[in-house]
């Protein structure tokens, strides 16, 4: 198998999860997408081809034959003993946390969760890709304890594991460099009983955050998606969220009734989103360099932000805006190699991020409480005269190049970028003073 830099570990671990030891992997050096044609040929001839030949003809040590039965630590055994801080340090070192402190999963705490299911503690609920490890009530409960869940949420988590294990959910592919964010939708009377919120700030309130965090930990520890080795999201994603439907006020059948369940049933639906931001993969071709493609994508993504009607405003009474361009290092290098400074990138996007005037006017007139048209905006000092144009003329969506903030970050081997819109705020930066500074 041929991989690119950064993807050899995931290739081997997927091979192992599928039952093949010592998968033969040859790695191409770098992020091939942003490499010009000549560099790809040079890398193949001078580096990759030799690796492929080696992999084909090199003898391999025989892997130890493992038992076909469960080989992990006996599930109920104590794996570590220590204080709160020592346990947290140990769990972080084993990559078992989401980098936040966890509640120590003691036998007693786990037992409280197991009282809320009729399933045997070590019964296999599902085998979760991509590590193909078995989820049991006990290890689901361990992750739920760590996340800070209440024990009565246990049935929801068992159903959630069954949902993400389903062939249709396709958990196999959430490790994509896109940064797919799984989330749960809870329906039915149990939601209210368990304090699962469906109203204002629902993703932050009630049981929702702890349930979302438990899903994060289950995906990491049971499905085996480890950041940087098998979970490859270029920029990652924010915490997993949980939503619930307000079935008392909805004018329609709630989601679970639409899908064949009774109104009185309670359900968990495994979902996913890239709403945090889809990161386009930047390719160079003989017709357009990676830098040129990156610039076009930055401009295009800028026009796709959700509130162009506010983004376009300017002046002392204009809406506060900031855009953040997250650019993975290989894309940044491709841009810099062609002479693009951060300011040149800002200027390019300011000039090229445009939509037809009628589209902007629709967004302004029908997407806000004030039914303005473009001329009204000009009269109010929120737009300059250049917006007094025909409906099909292309107009800028940015008030100034200065609203763009450029940050080089993300997977150092990935050719992606992402544009985040931040309405209502402007960036403010302060120096962090250390004790030694005083």
């Amino acid at each position: 198998m041929v991989t690119t830099t950064g993807f050899t570990t995931i290739a081997k671990s997927v091979g192992k999860s599928e039952g093949i030891a010592n998968l033969r992997v040859a790695e191409y050096p770098g992020a091939v997408g942003v490499h010009p044609e000549e560099l790809v040929d040079t890398n193949v001839e001078n580096v990759l081809f030799g690796r492929i030949v080696d992999e084909l003809i090199k003898p391999r040590a025989t892997a130890v034959q493992e038992s076909a039965s469960a080989t992990g630590s006996p599930a109920a055994n104590i794996v570590f003993e220590g204080t709160y801080d020592e346990i947290n340090a140990h769990f972080r070192s084993k990559l078992w946390t989401d980098e936040l402190p966890i509640t120590p999963p003691t036998h007693e705490r786990v037992e409280e969760f197991l009282k809320h299911t009729q399933r045997a503690a070590d019964e296999v609920i599902a085998v979760l890709p991509q590590a193909n490890l078995a989820a049991t009530p006990r290890n689901i409960a361990v992750n739920a304890v760590m996340a800070g869940c209440k024990p009565e949420l246990m049935p929801v988590l068992i159903a959630a594991v069954e949902a993400i294990a389903d062939n249709d959910y396709n958990l196999n592919n959430i490790g994509s460099t896109w940064g797919v964010q799984p989330f749960l939708l809870i329906n039915g009377p149990l939601a209210k009983k368990l304090d699962i919120e469906n109203g204002a700030q629902l993703v932050n309130r009630g049981a929702n955050p702890s349930l979302g965090r438990a899903l994060t930990l289950i995906i990491k520890n049971i499905a085996g998606y480890k950041f940087g080795s098998s979970y490859m999201g270029t920029f990652g994603y924010p915490v997993n969220v949980v939503i619930s439907e307000n079935e008392e006020v909805t004018p329609w059948d709630p989601f679970h009734v639409e899908h064949g369940f009774k109104r009185g049933d309670s359900t968990v639906t495994a979902c996913g989103t890239v709403t945090w931001g889809w990161p386009p993969a930047i390719y160079g071709t003989p017709h357009k360099t990676a830098a040129q493609a990156a610039l076009k994508f930055l401009a295009l993504e800028t026009t796709k932000k959700p509130c162009l009607a506010r983004l376009v405003e300017r002046g002392p009474n204009g809406f506060r805006n900031m855009l953040t361009f997250m650019i993975a290092p290989p894309v940044a290098k491709a841009l810099a190699d062609e002479g693009y400074t951060k300011q040149k990138i800002r200027d390019y996007v300011y000039e090229h991020a445009r939509v037809p005037a009628h589209e902007l006017e629709f967004l302004i007139e029908y997407g806000h409480s004030e039914a303005f048209k473009l001329p009204d905006m000009i009269e109010r000092g929120l737009l300059p005269e250049e917006y007094r144009v025909g409906p099909n003329e292309m107009v800028r969506v940015l008030p100034s190049p200065d609203v763009i903030n450029i940050v080089v970050c993300g997977d150092p081997d990935r050719n992606r970028l992402m544009v985040l819109w931040g309405g209502y705020v402007s960036p403010v930066t302060k120096k962090i003073e250390l004790l030694a500074d005083k």
């Binding site: 041929v2 191409y28 220590g82 078992w96």
Partner: protein, 106 residues
């Protein structure tokens, strides 16, 4: 906070057995090499280069290009992807393929 307690593992249980990867080739000369492609990451250019280099360095090699095999792709679901893998394995046996170069993963 200073109390010492024992804790359980959050990890899933290992279940499946492990087999070894196929035995290595003694040489590439005279062998049949199949190509399997996922339409990703400039593979067209790279497979072209492998073909050229294989034929230059191992004149007796036979190559079955990727357009003869099913395409592996991130679309579909685990069942359809496994079926594609089975189809590729069946064709490889039928055409007496000695090794497959597959890519690009990334």
């Amino acid at each position: 906070m200073s109390e010492r307690v024992g804790v359980l593992s959050p990890e899933g249980l290992q279940r499946s057995g492990i087999i070894n990867a196929s035995r290595h080739l003694d040489t590439i000369e005279g062998k049949t090499i199949g190509e399997v492609y996922n339409n990703h990451f400039k593979g067209e250019q790279m497979f072209r280069a492998y073909r050229r280099l294989l034929k230059e360095r191992y004149p007796g090699v036979k190559i079955i290009p990727y357009d003869k095999f099913p395409t592996v792709y991130v679309g579909g679901d685990p069942s359809s992807q496994k079926q594609t893998a089975k189809d590729i394995a069946r064709l490889a046996k039928e055409w007496e393929v000695d090794a497959i170069i597959t890519g690009n993963g990334g």
